[in-house]
């Protein structure tokens, strides 16, 4: 998978953190 750049707003709350973690876990190429 190619590198993907992902922007998540509200990443401080529980849902935002879980979302950021999900994308980080998805691929080592993902940049959040």
């Amino acid at each position: 998978m190619n590198r993907r750049i992902i922007l998540i707003t509200g990443a401080n709350g529980a849902l935002g953190r879980a979302t950021a973690q999900a994308f980080l876990d998805e691929s080592p190429e993902n940049f959040v």
């Binding site: 993907r4 992902i6 990443a11 709350g13 529980a14 953190r17 879980a18 999900a22 959040v32």
Partner: protein
């Protein structure tokens, strides 16, 4: 630094090569423009936007002050509007992009006490459907997610009786976990979801 910013900073510190935080007031178009410019300068692209920011500030309509109503609309709807506008240029130039907007079950099944929140989230659904049609031909998908009751900060304001009443409405008899909504965000951003656009995915344990 407040507590919630600190949480994001902690995650970024654990993943220094793959994660960073940006201070962004989602209600200000100029802040969005600057943030996207910063991201594009650093990475030359932006593939996925997850509009997750939002807060609850429930009250009966008769008790809502105009200033609070305007702030709610500005944050819940205006933030999504400004963000989508800000990322359009880069996603159109890439001819690729994924936008996922956090709405709410309240947009589909509006409870009392959420006239401002539910209306703003319904606006997010309409924006999602309209924008999806505008950009479908250029490889950009736009979808919305409608969670029901989640075990997050949003539940912290409910007392035990209110939580019991909420649980009684949920066929699965449990609150959703943040990871279960995050999985939906990730799915809608994956290559396999490339034909899904303008959709609303509800994640509510079977309420509707």
């Amino acid at each position: 630094m407040n507590r919630r910013r600190e949480n994001a900073e902690t995650l970024a510190a654990k993943n220094p090569d793959r994660c960073r935080t940006i201070s962004l007031d989602v209600t200000r178009p100029e802040a969005w423009k600057a943030a996207i410019a910063e991201i594009v300068a650093a990475h030359q692209r932006l593939d996925v936007l997850v509009n997750n920011a939002g807060i609850h500030d429930d009250a009966l309509l008769a008790q809502i002050k105009m200033g609070i109503m305007a702030r709610r609309a500005g944050r819940e709807f205006g933030g999504v509007f400004h963000s989508c506008q800000a990322v359009m240029q880069v996603m159109i130039s890439q001819r690729n992009g994924r936008i996922i907007n956090l709405a709410s079950l309240s947009a589909l099944l509006a409870p009392p006490g959420q006239t401002n929140f539910a209306a703003a989230k319904a606006g997010v659904l309409a924006l999602t459907q309209s924008l999806a049609k505008e950009v479908a031909r250029i490889g950009i998908t736009v979808n919305a997610v409608c969670p029901g009751y989640l075990d997050t900060e949003a539940l912290a304001g409910l007392d035990d009786d209110a939580k019991k009443r909420a649980l009684a409405q949920i066929p699965m008899r449990r609150f959703g976990r943040p990871e279960e909504v995050a999985a939906a965000f990730r799915f809608l951003a994956c290559a396999g979801a490339g034909y899904i656009t303008g959709s609303t995915l509800k994640i509510d344990g079977g309420i509707i």
